[in-house]
């Protein structure tokens, strides 16, 4: 009984093994019909029947025996170390066939279950050649993964049997946030913001530090004319200023319950991560210090302030594994941690859900204290579901109730928002697809206006 079970196990559930091919099934079907017809019209004995069946299987096994050996095939996988979430990548599998027979293979890669792929995929490897097969993969969930086995099936010469084997190719893959927007920003900040329809405002004249002297252009502030240089060069020269460098920017990311709400693509946390990374890239490019803190009930990740583009990689590595927690965000814990960790005046950008934030009573107290040292800004994603709920037709009492509650929430939010803005705390709600540009342009505006 035990040996039968282990045989069954070997036949069906092991990685390695053999299995009948479609052609064998078809052949056997034809054979069975033939034998049945023979039995109907003539007298064939059971022994003859067993012998014929056995013979058929034996001959088919000969085909299996002639096919390439498992050790004749070797495999190599090429997959990028870091995959951006939701973006299609090609994974290459290099198959080397050392035998002198061509074989057609089917492959299923042992990639993590959350990845989306069209398996199995097929290809033919000629005798004593190496071919590259490739498949497309989309990774929708961030995290660190390990890819272990590559499962292979290949047909025997006549296709009566298939051999199955599993090649162990261990590889580590990280799935990081979608960096498309960040890359676009880094390529050309001006174009990125212009394309999104945000005008970078002119900086205030007295703000910033001296950058260089250049020839006077029409429209320059006469107060900026550098008279000494003008006299020296017999040409009107004016001073140019630029926003100060070396400011501190702290990015807070809420990983609480409400950040898990689904949007058109991904959830709020994914959008917040994209915006946070792009803002961090913008700040690091400007030469500012960037710190990042992710929190839910407690502080989850903290990247201390640092400058230089190299820091972006560290931020990316640290925050690419954060996930939405089931609990409500604890703002107090984050603010307490921050006030201890931040020594210098800093711009604090909080990516969170505005609604949850406004309901939190204790936050006000903390913020009043923080405001004395830091500049605070909340960036949230506009709740489309809420707005739609407030405008739906009241066809049933249930819908009418939902509608009235939604209207109440909108009213409450508006009220609170005006109240908080009077206290000097700015809050921005951006549409899902404009969150990244909103965050970056607010950062640039604050820096340009020298508010920090």
């Amino acid at each position: 009984m035990k040996s039968l079970k282990s045989l069954w196990d070997r036949l069906l559930f092991r990685d390695r093994g053999i299995l009948p091919g479609k052609r064998l099934l078809a052949l056997f079907l034809i054979f069975s019909i033939g034998i049945t017809v023979m039995a109907a019209f003539s007298n064939v004995s059971w022994i003859w029947l067993f012998v014929m069946n056995g013979l058929l299987l034996l001959i088919s096994l000969l085909d299996l025996w002639l096919s390439p050996k498992k050790k004749d095939l070797s495999f190599k996988r090429k997959i990028p170390d870091a995959l951006e979430r939701g973006i299609t990548y090609a994974v290459q599998i290099e198959v080397t066939n050392a035998s002198n027979k061509a074989c057609s293979v089917r492959l299923t890669d042992g990639i993590p279950q959350s990845f989306r792929t069209p398996f199995p995929f097929e290809g033919t490897i000629k005798a004593q050649e190496t071919s590259a097969l490739s498949y497309q993969v989309i990774a929708p969930v961030r995290g660190n993964y390990e890819i272990d086995k590559l499962f292979v099936r290949y047909r025997s010469v006549f296709g009566l049997w298939e051999k199955q084997t599993a090649a162990v190719i261990k590889q580590h893959v990280r799935v990081i946030p979608d960096l498309t927007q960040t890359k676009r920003y880094l390529e050309s900040p001006q174009q990125f913001l212009l394309h999104e329809g945000v005008r970078v405002r002119k900086q205030r004249s007295e703000a910033g530090e001296f950058a260089r002297i250049r020839s006077y252009a029409v429209g320059d502030d006469p107060r900026k004319i550098n008279w000494r240089q003008t006299a020296k060069l017999q040409e009107i020269m004016s001073n140019e200023y630029e926003p100060e460098h070396g400011k501190y920017v702290t990015i807070l990311i809420d990983c609480g319950r409400m950040m898990g709400a689904e949007l058109k693509t991904g959830n709020r946390l994914e959008k917040a991560l994209e915006a946070a990374l792009t803002t961090a890239a913008a700040a690091l490019r400007n030469g500012d210090y960037v710190a990042v803190l992710a929190f839910s009930t407690d502080v989850q990740r903290f990247v201390p302030p640092e400058k230089g583009m190299g820091h972006l990689q560290k931020i990316l590595q640290t925050i690419s594994t954060i996930h939405v927690e089931a609990s409500e965000a604890n703002y107090s814990a984050a603010f307490n941690y921050l006030s201890a960790a931040l020594k210098k005046r800093s711009l604090i950008l909080l990516f969170s859900d505005v609604q949850t934030f406004l309901y939190e009573e204790t936050v006000l107290h903390h913020l009043r204290r923080m405001r004395q040292r830091h500049l605070f800004m909340l960036i949230g994603i506009e709740d489309k579901t809420l707005l739609a709920a407030a405008r739906q037709e009241p066809d049933s009492s249930k819908i009418a109730m939902v509608k009235s509650v939604a209207q109440q929430q909108i009213g409450f939010k508006k009220q609170k928002k005006t109240y908080w803005e009077k206290q000097g705390l700015s809050m921005v709600e951006a549409k899902e697809e404009r969150l990244v540009t909103a965050a970056v342009s607010h950062y640039i505006r604050i820096m340009n206006e020298g508010m920090l």
């Binding site: 499962f151 209207q407 508006k414």
Partner: protein, 383 residues
């Protein structure tokens, strides 16, 4: 490294010691159970010539063996009986099944070539063309051809229905108990009382004499006496092969093989072992849905209308610049100046003021006013 080696050695020794202990305990248990457990007699099927149990017929078999020395058990198909000479006796005691047509013909051929079959069966109906009739009241003395009376136990509820050629050997008041019929050179002796030959009963009453009278009925010196064990085999009942045509059986056999191949083809795992995983989706409206459910359960229709009216007022402030803090009554004047405000609007707002002043609002009013406020909202928002 050294430590690790020592540890593994130690663990190996302990595991071996544990194994020895286990074996010892196991042996002890086996010994105890052997001593304590009672000797249960081996189970035999009834009327088997090897069975020494009360239901067996070993006693008679041994007796015959001692008497003649030419007694055998017949375990093969009756096919092989033909051509084995004549003057042989085949004793069938309560066959467990009725043989098929081909086998029956083989047995008859055996008799026709000058041999005799002694058939003892409670109801031999259908064996070699024997017919039986149900017995009305089975009692009384048993008389033979010569009107000699003997006593015997008869449990059978059937009596033989002899044909004209048959010779009645024994009978009682209910009918014929044993008959003899000839098959060309041979004969068939049939009796409905197999229990006479049982180990437990053979020496009771006149059973042995009666049995011996059957054995010697045709002949006194048998060349060989066979005890048929072929018909005692339990699994030799006319099987599926007799029920279904041969080609269907072949088809079934091939189908089983094909199904096995198909399962193998379909069931072989290809790819990693998949683990069920949970995915949760959260929507941002869970808060308003929960609150709305609470409002609805407690029938807060008035509050809900109030909220909708407030929202409308807020829109009036945002879109038309009518101050939010003003009462509905005071708004009328400013509404008059607005070109966008339709004539219905004024009536609606009048009605709304009245409705909001009510203590309780029923569902019907609530629904109709929700719809009217929605219409006003659309007007203000310019949809």
């Amino acid at each position: 490294m050294k430590n690790k080696g020592a540890a593994s050695l130690h663990s190996r020794i302990t595991s071996r010691r544990a194994l020895i202990w286990l074996a010892a305990v196991l042996l002890l248990f086996i010994g105890i159970s052997y001593i304590i457990a009672p000797d249960t007699p081996k189970e035999y099927p009834a009327f088997v010539s090897e069975s020494p149990s009360p239901t067996g017929v070993k006693a008679f078999y041994t007796y015959m063996d001692n008497q003649t020395g030419a007694v055998n058990r017949w375990r093969h198909s009756p096919e092989l009986l033909t051509g084995r000479g004549n003057n042989q006796l085949l004793i069938m005691v309560e066959p467990s099944f009725t043989p098929g047509t081909e086998e029956m013909e083989d047995y008859m051929a055996f008799m026709e070539s000058g041999n005799t079959i002694l058939l003892l069966k409670t109801n031999p109906d259908g064996m070699f063309g024997t017919e039986t009739v149900p017995a009305q009241d089975a009692s009384g003395d048993i008389t033979d051809q010569n009107e000699n009376v003997s006593t015997a136990e008869i449990n059978s509820a059937f009596r033989l229905n002899p044909s004209n050629n048959d010779n009645i050997l024994l009978k009682d008041e209910a009918g014929a108990i044993a008959t003899k019929s000839t098959f060309e050179n041979g004969a068939l002796i049939t009796a409905v009382a197999p229990e006479w030959m049982m180990n437990a009963k053979i020496l009771e009453q006149d059973h042995l004499e009666l049995i011996l009278s059957f054995v010697h009925a045709g002949n006194t010196g048998w060349e060989t006496v066979y005890f048929d064990e072929y018909l005692h085999r339990s699994n030799n009942a006319p099987s599926l092969t007799a029920l279904y045509p041969y080609w269907i059986l072949v088809l079934g056999f091939q189908a089983v093989l094909f199904a096995a191949l198909w399962l193998w083809f379909q069931g072989k795992r290809f790819g990693p072992v998949k683990v069920p995983r949970e995915e949760t989706v959260r929507f941002s409206d869970e808060r308003i849905q929960a609150l709305a459910a609470w409002y609805q359960r407690s029938r807060q229709y008035r509050d809900s209308l109030q909220i909708q009216a407030d929202y409308l007022k807020m829109l009036l402030q945002e879109r038309w610049g009518i101050p939010y803090y003003k009462n509905w009554v005071d708004i009328q004047e400013q509404l008059d100046q607005k070109a966008e405000a339709g004539p219905d609007m004024k009536n609606d707002i009048d009605g709304l003021t009245n409705v909001l002043q009510k203590e309780r609002i029923d569902k019907k009013t609530y629904m109709s006013w929700s719809k009217r406020i929605n219409r006003l909202r659309k007007e203000v928002e310019g949809e």
